[in-house]
Symmetry: C2
Subunit: 232 residues, 2 copies
């Protein structure tokens, strides 16, 4: 029976992850998307999973989380990074927090910068980096408390110090890539590799990206675990 | 891009594994089956793999290896356990041998008992146990230098001393199970858990299994990496 699943929401190009104890089938879901709920239900039944935690890497601006709905149906606890201020969550995660499911453990690593509350999660040989570190790139830093210097420090001091063969599973990919490694990103990430903190801040400041289409709906909804969606 | 593949030969219920460096795409194949060669070719092309090593956990009695054919096509080196005496192999592996592919490393662990030359291989959080340790069981010990006491020692002293959360990927499964963990097998393997060496030897001696149908073809063929198959 499989114990690791990488799911994809095509509308927002979001990756959702399901991590299970291969023996007990206790599981954690990272960054569930509300519109994919029917797919998750099927997977949970097919793979005989008991979802213990639904967790978020940050307060997303591009999709509404499925965490609240999954909590209601599965009895899982919702866990979000403390600085995100998601008051309905059951657990407020700080740097170094451990979540135990079956005989497995997931460790929170604070990686602010894309948003002020962004966290990554380390499990076995895999790190789930949300929108901090992407494959060949990184998250934008121009809203929700984002800060380019902070993101540079998070990536270079907290993520690039993990073992080179640690597998990187990001919150999005727009080119069909599924995973990378810390070693590959250190060597080849076009925004980070061989770039100074000052250069990175300048690069991120010059991006001039459009405002996310869903931000005014998604962010307030996600502060309520997706349970109270404003009508757009 | 995926970096780990578990393939299945339905005729012999054999699992074949492909392990890749997620960055460089250098890869290793464990226990290839000759009749599945077309499937392997498709996978190698689709996943952009460069096969560096084709390796065997032991000299199989139930299927003919695809190692020789894969070596001829891919340029991979064939590596087999030294005590198996497969003279056409490029590398003769002893306990503790390391195979490097890209930035990845695989370590050989001698686990004799099913056959005199049986080896397991450790990679990342996974151990490939061949027919030494199966999910909920173990390989038979009544031919090819098999010895029940030796197998008990291999499993309890070499495999059960790995971390409990190490994933166990066996050489076969006949019930559809795909993986287990060292912790689950220590706790629940019906042949090994809470059983003394003497009990295990008695149990294995009482099995009275039929002679494998293909042994007279497969074993001589596999001693030549599957390149010289006797006509049955």
């Amino acid at each position: 029976m499989e114990h690791f699943f990488q799911l994809f929401d095509p509308e927002s190009s979001t990756y959702t992850y399901v991590l299970a104890d291969p023996g007990t089938r206790d599981a954690v879901m990272i960054d569930a998307v509300d519109s994919q709920f029917p797919e998750y239900s099927k997977l949970i039944n097919r793979a005989h999973l008991t979802i213990r935690y639904v967790i978020e890497t940050h307060t997303h601006a591009d999709h509404v989380t499925g965490a609240g709905a999954l909590r209601a149906v599965t009895g899982a606890k919702a866990a979000t990074p403390l600085p995100c201020g998601v008051s309905p969550a059951d657990l407020q995660l700080e740097d170094g927090a451990e979540l135990h499911f079956g005989r497995e453990v997931l460790v929170a690593i604070a990686t602010p910068g894309h948003t002020a509350g962004s966290m990554s999660y380390l499990w076995r040989d895999k790190v789930f980096t949300g929108d901090a570190l992407l494959i060949g790139g990184c998250g934008r830093t121009d809203f929700q408390g984002g800060d380019a210097g902070t993101l540079y420090d998070s990536i270079t001091k907290r993520l690039f110090t993990l073992a080179d063969d640690t597998l990187v599973y990001p919150g999005h990919d727009y080119k069909g890539d599924k995973s990378s490694t810390i070693g590959a990103e250190k060597a080849g990430n076009s925004r980070l590799a061989n770039r100074s903190r000052e250069d990175f801040i300048r690069l991120m400041g010059d991006l001039n990206l459009p405002r996310p289409k869903k931000i005014d709906i998604a962010v307030p909804a996600n502060r309520q675990l997706g349970l109270d969606v404003p009508q757009g």
